[in-house]
């Protein structure tokens, strides 16, 4: 099964902006590449932690954070390629059962940073089915902005997670807007936001 006829139509920037609208105490971890740009474009925030590398690690950074901060909602916003590289993390997140964690995959079926090669998702692999099989109690497929808006408030529910959302975005590649690349700065800013002193 190739999904070429069913690639998403959602504008990724609009989708992420809608997802983070009225974010309140939401903490955000981004997967490297376009998801980092999308989150930055939606509005710079001290509660954002942008990855510029560590491909495959975004969901696990989110898990460590969610376990450490069980009273804060945490969302990992990443791409299909990034999640596929660390697909085992979906199993680890599912069995750890962090009720405050959401993994939101922006799925365009392609590797946007490297020349738009098809990903396994683009070849037909279903990340939502994988998440379901891993044991996520909540799996949502989103293909329009109404779906994003409906999902937004659920991310703040600290009892029903972990949630997995597959957001079907188009493969359009908007102009890059670059969040800070200094990891030490972003780390210190994030921890200060949570009230931890910078040494």
């Amino acid at each position: 099964m190739v999904k070429s006829s069913t690639f998403g139509a959602l504008d990724r920037r609009a989708a992420v902006k809608a997802l983070l609208d009225n974010r309140r105490d939401l903490l955000v971890v981004t997967g490297l590449g376009s998801p980092s740009y999308d989150v930055f474009a939606a509005g710079e925030h001290d509660g954002n932690f942008y990855l510029w590398g560590a491909m495959g690690g975004a969901a696990m950074v989110g898990l460590g954070l969610a376990l450490a901060q069980p009273k804060r909602p945490v969302v990992v916003i990443t791409g299909d390629g990034e999640q596929l590289m660390g697909v085992g993390a979906l199993l680890t997140v599912a069995i750890s059962k962090p009720a405050n964690l959401t993994i939101a995959v922006l799925d365009n079926g392609h590797y946007g940073e490297t020349g738009m090669q098809l990903s396994h998702s683009g070849h037909g692999a279903r990340l939502d089915v994988i998440a379901q099989g891993a044991g996520f109690p909540s799996v949502t497929e989103i293909s329009d902005l109404e779906g994003v808006a409906a999902f937004r408030d659920r991310m703040h529910d600290l009892t029903e997670g972990p949630r997995f959302a597959c957001i079907q975005i188009s493969k359009d590649n908007p102009e890059r807007v670059l969040p800070p690349r200094d990891g030490v700065h972003v780390k210190n800013r994030f921890r200060q936001h949570l009230g931890f002193a910078v040494k």
Binding site: A54, G56, M60, V61, G64, A68, K187
Partner: protein
């Protein structure tokens, strides 16, 4: 895998995993993650039994590196337990700790060095210290069970107070010969 302590040096102090656990409590470790390993089995059990330590089983070691990063962002100290064969799986993920100057503490049970019977364990065992050092990680060793607590305590200061990445290699001699 069999974790019985048949080696003489381990018999002198078979409670070194308990010593390490007590240090975990002193330094307020809030999260432990691991890929299952016979040498770490007692520490894994102790961690799971402790309601104040969130203990996470991983599918691969590099997940644990990223988990430790997230824990620190959220204000908790985490430790990754693994075997030397898993160190190579982590190499690119170490960039995260280095780029963000994140504290990182990992305890590595060594294979491929003392009375190893499995040739497949030897290449990664031999490469383990070098793999860490290539990525800028400080390497300490526990060669005798009596020094386990002290080494972990010192490494934790270096990691969590000094913002360093530190690996402690636990000699295969402490783990005893594997019985078949």
């Amino acid at each position: 895998m069999d974790g019985s302590a048949s080696d003489k040096s381990a018999i002198i102090n078979p409670d070194w995993p308990l010593d390490i656990y007590h240090v975990f409590k002193q330094i307020q470790i809030g999260q432990v993650c691991y890929v299952p390993d016979a040498g770490h089995s007692r520490l894994i059990t102790l961690s799971h039994q402790d309601p104040l330590i969130k203990t996470t089983v991983l599918t691969t070691e590099e997940e644990g590196v990223a988990l430790c990063a997230g824990a620190w962002l959220g204000g908790q100290r985490a430790v990754l337990l693994m075997q030397s064969s898993g160190v190579g799986n982590c190499v690119n993920m170490f960039s995260l700790m280095n780029s963000c100057r994140l504290p990182f503490l990992t305890l590595v049970t060594m294979r491929g060095e003392w009375a190893e019977f499995n040739p497949w364990q030897i290449p990664m065992g031999r490469a383990t210290p070098g793999a860490f050092e290539l990525m800028g990680i400080t390497v300490l060793r526990i060669d005798h069970p009596s020094e386990a607590g002290e080494v972990v305590s010192a490494a934790a200061s270096l990691a969590f107070d000094g913002d360093r990445q530190v690996a402690i290699l636990i000699s295969q001699r402490l783990l005893g010969r594997k019985k078949w």
